[in-house]
């Protein structure tokens, strides 16, 4: 341990940053967790490298400890184009993407919209080139105060909008106000109206309702609507109606029926992109995307599932981007009425899940075990001490017997999306081993959401009209706040199970206000324990986000939210 180097960082770190440094120095965080947490908290890349080097006991040489700084440096430089040695400048890449429903940056809800808008607009915190964390975007640096209630973002200078006007702090403030007014699910309850203030042309200060150590994620690529739009934008403006942006690509054409094209932004702050432009082709299902790639009519696919894209895994000319992510399915069970009010019955159903088999059959192994709570293993505060629930049919039968339940029959409602219908069938057969008869009922997603998962009536409490049992999909979130707040907190807006637990609510509040690593892990551990025990939702897996591109191109990277980036892409 090189204490003199460590002290250099300690002296200039803010309290929250110091907490992370100490946690890493004490061995409570892995290197990966430390880099992730420190980046979020705004510790500079140089400081991160110094800490890692200082704490490395057997290898203090720059080359050995350089792995972390270069990784961090690559994260910082992720937005700048890098051309591979054998790269060919020019040309276009053709991308298959789900048809966007809306390209209104504030109101969009679908991956198609996220992917298209992220070509022209940018985030304060963008995606790193590894595709798994945030990196400086329109903000170069961000710093919390001592308790994480105030965050100061230093903006990148010299950035211009596509029309040549300068990007300023006023644009950021206006964008945030629009998001807060629209009730953005990531910022709701965290950033109040008027909470974003431009302290000067290049600095924005965010004053939050309470301490929050994860705030940079909430204004990052992982909160897809937090794209920074021009001050003059009004709510409801779509990218095609008023093309704008600070990003590497300028929208040329947009047709919701067929696709979109972008051309290079010659004034982009990140430099000149190797490619001249991008062409996006819209699809409604994955099958034709795969066929189009095989027929050499597209070069990249923004998202595909394992079953529809099975042939891509064996294609030596296709490069798969597999991102471990918090994408998951929740099997909600009504705790307030119906057949699942008894905790033992819910546990019994959870004990019938053969999770490894589900992962193998549905994802060919490309998923991670879930333990009936929403804290994904990839979160830095994940507590691994909660025992993993495994299939135990005798225990399931015993629990049912203890609860006095025999011949349990229920309809399992689900939406027609990716592997969910297959999941419903597999759960049916697994539950049958314990004498539970599930009857899958699969509908189109539009009908399912409004009729089974969270009907609009009755309005209070929200989702109180939900069916007693069903499967719902959740996209990736960089922090679990949205899952915890909306799906599980008492009277949450997506709380189909009608779960209402004072202990859970208290643990969630503790988690939200925790600003140190240890405190977050402690609170997270409580949440995992409570949810694993009470099982308002079954959660068998977190699956990988799959995207990919032809090996004729390099430098493509993607988030788990449908945003694919081509600023560093070139033909090989």
């Amino acid at each position: 341990m090189d204490y003199s180097e460590l002290d250099k960082v300690r002296r200039r770190a803010m309290p929250l940053q110091l907490d992370v440094v100490e946690a890493f120095a004490a061995g409570r965080l892995s290197r990966r967790e430390f880099i992730q947490r420190a980046t979020v908290l705004g510790l500079s890349m140089g400081s991160i490298g110094m800490v890692i080097a200082a704490c490395s006991s057997t290898s203090s040489s720059p080359s050995a400890s350089g792995a972390a700084p270069s990784q961090a440096a690559s994260a910082a430089a992720s937005s700048a184009p890098s051309t591979a040695p054998s790269a060919v400048a020019g040309g276009k890449i053709r991308i298959a993407i789900q048809r966007p429903v809306s390209i209104d940056p504030v109101g969009m809800q679908d991956l198609g919209g996220y992917g298209i808008t992220a070509q022209s607009f940018e985030f304060l915190c963008t995606l790193n080139s590894a595709g798994n964390d945030i990196a400086p975007g329109l903000a170069l640096k961000w710093t919390p105060n001592a308790d994480g209630t105030v965050w100061t973002f230093d903006l990148r200078q010299g950035v211009k909008w596509h029309d040549g006007s300068p990007f300023t702090a006023d644009d950021v403030v206006a964008s945030m106000e629009r998001l807060v007014a629209a009730g953005n699910s990531g910022l709701k309850g965290i950033l109040p109206p008027g909470g974003a203030v431009a302290t000067d042309a290049n600095t924005v200060t965010f004053t939050l309702t309470g301490g929050n150590g994860n705030f940079p994620y909430l204004v990052s690529v992982f909160n897809a609507q937090t794209l920074i739009t021009p001050k003059a934008y009004v709510a409801g403006t779509t990218l095609d109606k008023v093309p704008a942006g600070t990003g590497a690509w300028k929208l040329l054409t947009y047709n919701q029926q067929s696709g979109a094209t972008f051309e290079r932004n010659p004034d982009w702050w990140g430099g000149t992109t190797p490619l001249d432009g991008t062409e996006w082709i819209f699809f409604d299902t994955v099958g034709p995307m795969v066929t189009a790639y095989q027929g050499d009519q597209v070069d990249a696919i923004v998202q595909f599932d394992v079953l529809s894209g099975a042939s891509l895994f064996d294609d030596p000319n296709f490069s798969i981007i597999a991102t471990e992510a918090a994408l998951h399915r929740q099997i909600w069970m009504r705790v307030d009425k119906g057949q699942f009010t008894d905790k033992r019955v819910r546990q019994a159903l959870a004990y019938t899940f053969d999770r490894p088999a589900l992962i193998q059959q549905l994802f060919k192994g490309r998923a991670q075990l879930g333990n009936d709570h929403v804290i994904w293993q990839g979160y830095p505060y994940f507590d691994p001490s909660v025992p993993q629930r495994v299939q135990d049919i005798p225990k399931a039968k015993q629990l049912l017997s203890d609860a006095g339940v025999t011949n349990l029959k229920a309809t399992l409602y689900a939406g027609q999306l990716l592997e969910i219908p297959d999941l419903a069938v597999l759960l049916q057969s697994q539950a049958a081993q314990a004498g539970i008869t599930l009857t899958p009922s699969v509908e189109s997603l539009d009908t399912f959401y409004g009729a089974q998962w969270c009907p609009a009536d009755p309005k209070d409490p929200p989702c109180s009209g939900a069916q007693e049992l069903g499967i719902v999909d959740y996209g990736h979130r960089a922090t679990p706040d949205v899952y915890l707040n909306a799906a599980l907190k008492s009277k949450g807006i997506w709380n189909s199970s009608q779960y209402a637990s004072a202990a859970f609510d208290a643990a969630f509040t503790e988690f939200q206000t925790a600003v140190g690593v240890d405190a977050q892990k402690t609170a997270s551990g409580k949440i995992e324990t409570i949810l694993n025990d009470e099982v308002p939702i079954g959660l068998p897996y977190f699956y990988n986000y799959l995207a990919g591109n032809s090996k004729k191109f390099s430098g493509v990277y993607s988030s788990a939210l449908g945003q694919m980036f081509f600023s560093a892409t070139s033909q090989v």
Partner: protein, 317 residues
């Protein structure tokens, strides 16, 4: 002839009104509310209510019905609930795409199928006839999405002879557009070939057995003259009727082919509108398809009336 046409037009207007009413009723009894469907399940309820108010979906059903009828009359179908854009231009684009695909499919099918049907009828019960009948039955039995998939895999992916996606690049010239549409059009042509060929064969056999055909031959007309002057215009009457019905289906019913080839014709547009409860688009689309059916059957009736004057004389009497 004028009375015949005007009577048919009047009937078409009544049909159009009935169609609009039925579509409106169906669209308004589908589950889910429009604002929620557009904004998604995560939008705040106040925002959903505000959108419903803006779109007018919270108005009484009678008011909305009258609005719909007026919209049909003035060709103002309003704005799409999903995209916020005017319905008519979007629909016109989708119709254009469907028309191109349907047109190419018919261009391939009709001459081939009629020729095959006539050829088979003249060689009744001989190997050529049996072969064509068998081919026709087989090709009609295979759904177009199966032939489409086979074509995509073999012709598009393995042999790379034709593009697998049917949408050509913007401003593509006609040969390029034909190249892109050839596979889906062929998939459809294979299915309809059998149906039209067998109908032509049956009609021709009946006419060949008639007294006037026998008289023509005995008068000394050559086979070719007999076929052209007497047989064809009588034999093809049922075929014309069948083709007219198929035109309407080709415009709005080939969702499977459109999905396989990622072609945004009327089928996909209507399916999307139904899923999203985009009532203006749904209503307008259903009416347009109805109009296509009516125009096609009216045109077919006029062709049949020209081919066989007894048809229009019967009506006019």
């Amino acid at each position: 002839m004028a009375r015949f046409i005007s009577r048919r037009l009047l009937l078409s207007l009544i049909t159009l009104w009935l169609l609009t009413t039925i579509v409106f009723i169906i669209a308004n009894v589908l589950p889910n509310d429009v604002g929620r469907t557009i904004l998604g399940p995560f939008a705040p309820q106040e925002t959903v209510d505000a959108l419903n108010e803006r779109l007018g979906t919270d108005r009484p059903i009678i008011v909305r019905y009258v609005d719909t009828i007026l919209g049909v009359v003035t060709l103002d179908f309003g704005e799409s609930y999903v995209t916020g854009q005017a319905v008519l231009p979007q629909l016109a684009a989708a119709i254009g795409r469907s028309a191109k695909l349907a047109g190419l499919a018919l261009l391939i099918t009709i001459p081939l199928a009629i020729t095959a049907g006539l050829y088979a009828a003249r060689r009744r019960d001989r190997p050529a006839d049996r072969g064509i009948v068998l081919l026709g039955v087989t090709s009609s039995s295979i759904p177009e999405f199966v032939t489409g998939t086979i074509l995509v895999v073999v012709v598009g992916v393995q042999l790379r002879l034709l593009p697998v996606l049917a949408t050509p690049p913007p401003n593509a010239d006609i040969p390029t557009q034909i190249r892109y549409l050839l596979m889906p059009a062929t998939a459809m042509a294979i299915v309809y070939f059998g149906y039209i060929a067998r109908m032509t064969r049956a009609g021709t056999i009946e006419v060949l057995q008639s007294d006037y055909t026998r008289t023509a031959m005995m008068k000394g007309l050559t086979t070719g003259q007999t076929m052209r002057r007497h047989v064809l215009r009588n034999a093809l009457i049922p075929t014309v009727a069948v083709i007219a019905v198929q035109i309407g289906y080709l415009f709005g019913g080939i969702i499977a082919v459109e999905k396989i080839f990622n072609y945004n014709g009327m089928g996909q547009t209507m399916l999307f509108a139904a899923q999203r409860k985009d009532i203006p688009m749904l209503t307008a689309g259903a009416i347009v398809i109805g109009v296509v059916y009516m125009v096609a059957t009216l045109a077919a009736d006029m062709v049949m009336a020209w081919m066989n004057p007894r048809i229009r004389l019967d009506v006019e009497r």
